[in-house]
């Protein structure tokens, strides 16, 4: 028990180293490999989650922008429509005005024509009256007083007809 044998010390040292290498490779090595793998997985999962969050945020931003654009677009469309409506309105009003003008011009023309016709009728009546008067004057003996009365009558008749 107390004898010291170098060769047996050597054997034990060799045994110890062997045991250490074995434990290092199989016990600690295997456990470490699993732990490292697990850590890697956790890391990659965390990274994936971060990426997904980032992507979601980006998409959200994109949609928000789109929505903002929709508002703008709506405004644009409304403005366009308003403008178009205004143009249409202008056109319609313009047309109406033109039509009105035309009607007025036509009416004026018609009135003139009518007026002309009336004048002609009046002139014809006047001629008839003059002829009538002249014939009356010619038929009757006449004095200055009679002439005056006749003229007055004629004038008043003519004025009444003309009114």
């Amino acid at each position: 028990m107390l004898t010291v044998s170098l060769i047996n010390i050597g054997f034990t040292i060799f045994n110890l180293l062997l045991l250490y290498l074995f434990a290092k490779k199989f016990l600690f090595g295997r456990v470490d490999a699993i732990l490292a793998q697990r850590r890697e997985e956790v890391d990659s999962a965390t990274k994936a989650a971060e990426a997904a969050t980032q992507e979601a945020l980006n998409t959200k931003k994109e949609y928000e922008e789109k929505i903002a654009n929709v508002d703008e677009e709506k405004e644009q469309i409304l403005a366009d429509i308003k403008k178009q409506g205004y143009v249409e309105y202008e056109r319609i009003i313009g047309e109406a005005k033109k039509k009105g003008d035309k009607i007025i011009v036509e009416a004026k023309h018609n009135a003139e024509v009518e007026n002309e016709r009336a004048k002609e009728v009046y002139a014809a009546q006047l001629t008839d009256m003059v002829i009538d008067a002249a014939s009356k004057i010619a038929a009757t003996k006449h004095s200055a007083a009679d002439d005056k009365e006749l003229y007055d009558k004629f004038i008043s008749e003519a004025g009444a007809k003309n009114e």
Partner: protein, 227 residues
């Protein structure tokens, strides 16, 4: 009593002889015992660590992982951050000494009861301590370290290289021998029941404590060397 001690201490240690050159190499029983312990440990490790998975781990794997992390925590905690790379070796030594001390439960003579085994363990420890110091500080600074804090203590520091492993090996050897002697005496006096109870203390508790003390002191030396 004296006969018992003589029997224990002077027991024939040679298990078998290998012819070598003109003479023989005596292979001691303790070395054969170490082989046995190693074989059991190898088989146990191979069985316990086979088919490890990352997900859906078995209870066996969970237990092994917990045990390894805990063991590393124990040795790594004693070593400190600087010496953490030696944690695996010390964990192995802890397992080996604990296992060796506990074979007494099965009726074998513990390998650590042979001075040669404890000398080997202590030699490994002191070599590891000095190598750790050299690796950390460089050979020059490591040599200078002997003259610290004062040049006059250099002889003491050099003596320490011898004293430390001597105390390590003698403590382990003495404790295991003492436990065995006491157990033998108790078995001689009260052959039933009491030896079973005390064997729990001496083989399991004392064995584990001695393994822990050995590893604790070695890690303390390494920590001191790498600081």
């Amino acid at each position: 009593m004296k006969e018992l001690l003589t029997e224990l201490l002077m027991e024939e240690k040679t298990c078998f002889r290998i012819p070598f050159g003109d003479g023989y190499i005596d292979v001691y029983k303790s070395v054969v015992m170490t082989w046995g312990v190693m074989l059991v440990l190898f088989a146990l490790i191979l069985f316990l660590t086979h088919g490890f998975k990352v997900h859906n781990i078995s209870k066996r794997q969970a237990a092994v992982e917990t045990f390894v992390i805990w063991l590393r925590g124990v040795t790594g905690g004693m070593l400190g951050e600087e010496g953490i790379s030696y944690a695996d070796y010390l964990a192995t030594v802890l397992i080996f000494i604990a296992a060796s001390n506990m074979v007494g439960l099965l009726g074998f003579t513990p390998a650590t009861m042979d001075l040669n085994v404890t000398i080997a363990l202590a030699l490994m420890s002191i070599v590891l301590v000095e190598i750790a110091g050299m690796r950390k500080k460089g050979v020059k600074k490591w040599l200078k370290g002997f003259a610290e804090p004062m040049a006059i203590v250099a002889p003491m520091n050099i003596l320490e290289i011898g004293i430390r492993p001597l105390s390590l090996c003698m403590r382990l050897f003495g404790n295991i021998l003492g436990a065995t002697v006491i157990m033998e005496l108790i078995k001689f006096m009260v052959p039933v029941i009491l030896p079973a109870i005390l064997s729990l203390y001496f083989d399991i508790f004392d064995g584990a404590i001695q393994a822990y003390v050995f590893v604790f002191l070695t890690s303390l030396y390494i920590k001191e060397a790498v600081e």
